[in-house]
């Protein structure tokens, strides 16, 4: 499906859509973090994604690898905390996986995302079920791979990924955190939704809505 090719413009739309939903959900993310963390996840992600959008506005990268690197470096430089290195690493690790192509086919995009997830795990040492962003990202990528393998168009595959991310996010609620700040609460962390898994679900949703040009045929 050649219409499924992911070019720099599509990736920019993805990032801008994510930035917009982070801005919109900022207080919600912070409220989730207040319950089991330190009440800054919304501010952190908003600061970072505003910087990413500002970079896109002033010096837009011209190929996917450069774009991922720009986004990753911007996040690492501007966010701090746990989410800065983690989201930063996610994008930084996507860059080399593009092989320098100007436009990515769905499989390459999915491969790049998986490289990003591996970067997050290498950096943060979280496993599935530790009540972190990994709990949203990993199932999303599994769903994406499965859908693409089943021959679904990218738009449908991303919608499946987004649904899986949402499910993964919701599944963090009963978990006892083992990584990140929420782990300090021990049993008291159960019953609360993980803020990082929540922002990650927004990232995947932004791919489903922003990455693929929405038109009637999709």
């Amino acid at each position: 499906m050649p219409g499924d090719a992911v070019d720099t413009a599509a990736l920019q739309r993805w990032l801008r859509t994510f930035a917009a939903s982070v801005a919109e959900q900022r207080d919600h993310l912070t409220a989730l973090d207040a319950a089991i963390g330190d009440a800054d996840h919304g501010a952190n992600m908003h600061r970072g994604m505003s910087a990413v959008v500002a970079a896109l506005d002033t010096a837009p990268a011209t190929d996917p690898a450069a774009l991922f690197k720009q986004a990753g470096m911007t996040l690492v430089k501007s966010v701090g905390g746990a989410s800065g290195p983690l989201y930063g690493t996610l994008f930084l690790r996507m860059a080399p996986a593009t092989g320098g192509a100007a436009s990515l086919d769905p499989e390459t995009f999915a491969k790049a995302l998986r490289a990003g997830l591996e970067g997050v795990v290498a950096r943060g040492k979280a496993e599935l079920g530790d009540k972190t962003m990994v709990d949203a990202l990993a199932p999303a990528l599994d769903a994406l791979d499965a859908a693409l393998a089943a021959g679904e168009p990218l738009a449908d595959a991303l919608r499946a990924a987004s649904a899986a991310a949402d499910e993964g996010r919701d599944a963090t609620v009963p978990l006892v955190a083992r990584k990140g700040r929420a782990s300090y609460l021990g049993e008291r962390s159960a019953g609360h939704q993980d803020p990082g898994a929540t922002s990650t679900a927004l990232l995947v949703a932004a791919a489903a809505t922003g990455l693929v040009e929405q038109d009637d045929s999709s």
């Binding site: 963390g37 701090g80 800065g84 782990s183």
Partner: protein, 333 residues
């Protein structure tokens, strides 16, 4: 929210302007939010770098100066600084003997310092080592979790390693010393009230008028448990017993007893707590040889306190007593 600030988004930047104006003994790089000892780098001395989120003042910048840290990176409120800050600071405090990162154990801080060390290794030939400070017994120490938080131990670690660095000791020896102080230190905190993060504008957690949190962190993280408000003589054991259960404090030459205000708790109450704590230590056969009482590692406007004990040997005591000249700790010079 009632605070003395303009826009919450500018709080840290504007506060650093005031630090610069008030304290010429510090040099401030506003762009990178790094605070330096005015005479950094000190030639031949290992550079000591720490830092973390803002909101813990006088930590971290209050411990820069002769006999303690060479530089500190300031993050947003309760948010670890970013790798660029740390790698820039690392370059600028290397007096030729390498740089030791003293990292408070929080996921964000550890990851950002890790990335900074990677950056520094790629860009310079400065030798960097890192020691993670993790003393908070409220948190279970486990290989499968983020581990214990770094809290009050930072003060004795930074003070003692700072004194040893002034003596010209090498990087590896200082890293070992930092680990030794950390291993001999335990902390536990409690809150009477939540703090209010300026960007959020409301208290991080709600605590009824008749309840307190035991085992809190220094970022408004709720504690391990909530208990009814109690007299100081009942609260003191909730903080001290877990320390004594975790490490044998009778086996050293004595301990540093550090009673820390979380911010809004006044000295009058801290000293009363000190008396309660000293009485428990007396009964346990633990000998206080040095004390520190006051707001050193705060959590914005939170009311409450933490207790930190450090087991001293002869050498640690000597290094603790060595001259230091920082905003937060000063003696002998």
């Amino acid at each position: 929210m009632k605070k003395l600030l303009n826009d919450p988004a500018d709080l840290v930047a504007e506060s650093l302007r005031g630090v610069e104006r008030a304290h010429p003994e510090l040099r401030v790089d506003h762009e990178n939010r790094i605070l330096y000892r005015a005479d950094a780098p000190v030639s031949g001395k290992v550079g000591l770098l720490s830092g973390g989120g803002s909101g813990h003042e006088p930590a971290h910048a209050g411990f820069i100066g002769p006999g303690m840290l060479d530089a500190v990176c300031a993050g947003e409120v309760f948010t670890s600084p970013v790798p660029d800050q740390m790698s820039e600071a690392t370059k600028n405090i290397d007096g030729g003997a390498g740089v030791l990162h003293l990292v408070w154990n929080y996921t964000g801080d550890v990851m950002n310092f890790d990335m900074a060390a990677e950056l520094a290794a790629a860009e310079t030939d400065t030798e960097v080592q890192a020691v993670v400070i993790d003393d908070d017994v409220a948190v279970e120490d486990s290989l499968f979790t983020a581990g214990r938080r770094g809290t009050g131990a930072a003060i004795p670690v930074e003070k003692i390693v700072g004194a040893a660095a002034e003596q010209g000791r090498g990087l590896t020896e200082l890293a070992d010393l930092a680990r030794r102080v950390n291993d001999n230190t335990r902390s536990m905190g409690m809150a009477l009230t939540s703090c209010t993060v300026p960007a959020k504008g409301t208290p991080t957690f709600d605590l009824p008028d008749d309840e307190i949190e035991i085992g809190i962190g220094i970022h408004g993280e709720p504690g391990r448990r909530r208990v009814p408000i109690a007299p100081a003589r009942e609260i003191a054991p909730m903080l001290v017993e877990p320390l004594l259960a975790d490490l044998d404090f009778t086996s050293g030459d004595g301990v540093l007893v550090f009673v820390n205000s979380m911010g809004a708790t006044p000295m009058l109450e801290l000293h009363l707590m000190y008396a309660e704590i000293a009485a428990i230590l007396d009964r346990a056969g633990v000998v206080p040889v040095r004390s520190l009482v006051g707001p050193y590692v705060t959590s914005l406007d939170m009311a409450g306190c933490s207790v930190t004990l450090t087991r001293f040997d002869d050498e640690l005591l000597r290094l603790w007593d060595a001259p230091v000249a920082t905003l937060g700790l000063r003696w002998g010079m």
